[in-house]
Amino acid sequence: MKELLMGNEAIAVGAMMAGVQVVTGYPGTPSTEVLETIAKRNDGSIYVEWSVNEKAGMEVAAGAAYAGARSLVTMKQVGLNVASDPLMSLNMIGVKGGMVVYVADDPGPISSQTEQDTRHYAKFAKIPIFDATSPEEAYQMIQDAFDYSEKYHTPVFFRATTRVCHACASIEVGEFPKITKAEGFVKDSRWVIFPRLSYLNKKKVEAREITLAEEFSDYPGNELIGSGKIGIACGGIAYAYVMDAIESNKEMFTVAKFVTPFPFPTIFADRFLQQVDRVIVFEELDPVIEDALIYHQGVTHTTHEIIGKRTGTVLNAGELSANYIAGVLNEIFGAELVVGNQTFEDAPKVPTRPPVLCAGCPHRASFYAVKQAMKGKEAVFCGDIGCYTLGNAAPLDMVDTCLCMGAGITIAQGLEHSKSAGTKFSFVGDSTFFASGMTGVVNAVYNKADMILVVLDNSTTAMTGHQPHPGIGKTMMGEVSAAVSIEKVLVAIGAEVKIVNPLDLEAAIATVKEMDEKSGVRAIIFRSPCVAIVKPDQARHIDTNTCIGCMKCIRELGCPALSKKDGKAVIDPALCTGCGLCSKVCPTGCIVKD
């Protein structure tokens, strides 16, 4: 039967078709649904875990592959930086069972801190990479990725980008195979990395690159479409945009779809170049295919004109689109392709609509408590990655720095050691604390930092869709496990710890004030669950007779359930979760339960 599958679901189902036995990962948009789908469709025969971070995930998957099991580790592009330490040695050690490293890239970026291109990592680590152009191709290609991994004893990258990960297509799904038990770990010196072994293996890896460049040249996914004299080289979702863009004048072009950007399929590239006079390259993120073509021409002394990002012609940041590509092809080649031409210059202005913390989000209360406690005093607020990054928006305006997972804790220390003024606060979520916050706290205590760590413990990994984490006591296999206590960890490291419910605003403010008086590394755990994982309380409403229309509630909190109507504040009962924060802010006490 045909199913409507999201790209990430197609990748998951494809991996299951390939007989994957161990799946690990750390949540991160747009990669998260792969692991979740396998967990959901799993009959219990596949081991699935959310690892504490990407490095742990990579290593667990490697161990499984050492033992001969097929393994998959999933992450977003910036997560690969965390996992790069094991990766950059595993590439020289290799694997026995097929191991696929799934990385989701995010052109735009839409839900990430940067536009990082994983194809560079493939080249850097010298391991092959597959790059899907659609969900249905991904479904097939991830199965091939496992085969290549096993055949060449190397981890293999599988990359997709947001518009493939989060697009759905109708896909015919077969029966899952029976999982056979892996051979098990066999002791051998090949698993111990030593200089001599790396040296010998590097020679093999370099030789493999040449073999794979040839083999990939006949890989069916690397395809030439059409026979026109203008060549379009493309990869990933840009291929889909190109096909859409040239629909009305296909005869002009030969499209070369590159699904294995590394090792670059040189013979395939030659076939393409021989067929065309000029070449333009469309790819999102960095000019990887483009550079490979230019480099290949250098090696083979051929001289096609290659138009792309390097010539300043194609966008070098952000997403591409069919309209954009058609526009470029029209301009450069006079292609006369149809582009959207309706303009609406007289349209009424619609203000931007940035994402906001949900109505009733406990982070709003936490930020507000710290803000109130520090009113009139100097303070710096170092933020981190998660829903709480949204605390930077007005009216809270409580995020002064944000860099990468866990960095808020250590950035604060740098500010302190450079003698910047004010109390240094670091806000970190519970999941981020475990992923990469703990070492930063050790660093702070060891090096005698003076800071207040604020752990926003909402009992979930909210931003990516509410995954469990080590503090929750539940695994992705649905089993109960020992919950790791954040307070005990902090006490053991040597920080002074206070725990308070941020929705108890008075107590929360008092705690922050008390901690501000002290010195050294102190921690406040604001503990209150994300509203998306608990039943909401009764919605509050505003008594319009006593509301004086001062708008303090809206101005101070920015809760999306609050808005202004006829000079008074009103609460949208469909959105309000009854957190009660606004009633504590209102000077007239007109926000009530019923």
Binding site: C168, V339, G340, F344, V350, P351, R353, V356, R555
Partner: protein
């Protein structure tokens, strides 16, 4: 091949609506693609879903100027995305505005009438739906998406009938929510016949 762009505000249920349309098409043996906004914008930001059904097409994203239909969960968002509409395309939109947080304080709020008036002036076929009223009748704020899909189906512009959608709902929804959604579907469809 037919393309439909759905646009609204994170949390309004655009993802389910686009999946329903795609599934209805697949049940007729048609090819379907969708692309949805998943991630940070789902927290009250702008969201769009692309649905393309019928013959095979490479891209899940509708090029600008090529949507046969737009389904607006919020009229301001339709205005924002109007460049996606084909010249003779049809718009179905809910008439209630969702103001961006603190928009009214910063003075950047807008009113529904201006948006609707503009759409009616620019778009030949513009169907306006009182989503709040339908949600009221059905007793749930969560049925706006199904009401809009009902109107979309009734218009015939996507080659999917109200009956097709009904079959998808029956297969997709928990039984306790079915009656409420069927009612919303019918009320949405009525907005087009009237």
């Amino acid at each position: 091949m037919k393309s439909c762009l759905l646009c609204g505000v994170g949390g309004q249920g655009t993802v389910l609506a686009s999946r329903i349309l795609a599934q209805a098409a697949m049940n007729q043996g048609l090819f379907a693609r969708t692309a949805e906004t998943i991630g940070m914008s789902q927290r009250g930001g702008c969201v769009v879903s692309h649905v393309r059904i019928g013959e095979y097409v490479s891209s899940p994203m509708i090029p600008e100027g090529q949507a046969d239909m737009m389904i607006g969960f919020e009229p301001g968002e339709v205005v924002r995305n109007l460049s996606y509409l084909k010249e003779d395309g049809i718009v179905i939109t809910c008439k209630q505005v969702v103001q961006a947080v603190t928009a009214s304080l910063s003075g950047s709020d807008y009113n529904a009438e201006d948006m609707i008036a503009y759409l009616q002036r620019k778009v030949k076929h513009c169907i306006v739906i009182d989503g709040a009223e339908i949600c009221n009748i059905c007793g749930s704020g969560k049925v706006l998406n199904v009401a809009l899909v009902g109107a979309a189906a009734q218009s015939g512009a996507m080659g999917i009938s109200v009956e097709d959608v009904k079959a998808v709902l029956a297969a997709k929804l928990k039984p306790q929510f079915l009656a409420m959604n069927e009612q919303a579907l019918a009320l949405g469809a009525q907005c087009v016949t009237q």
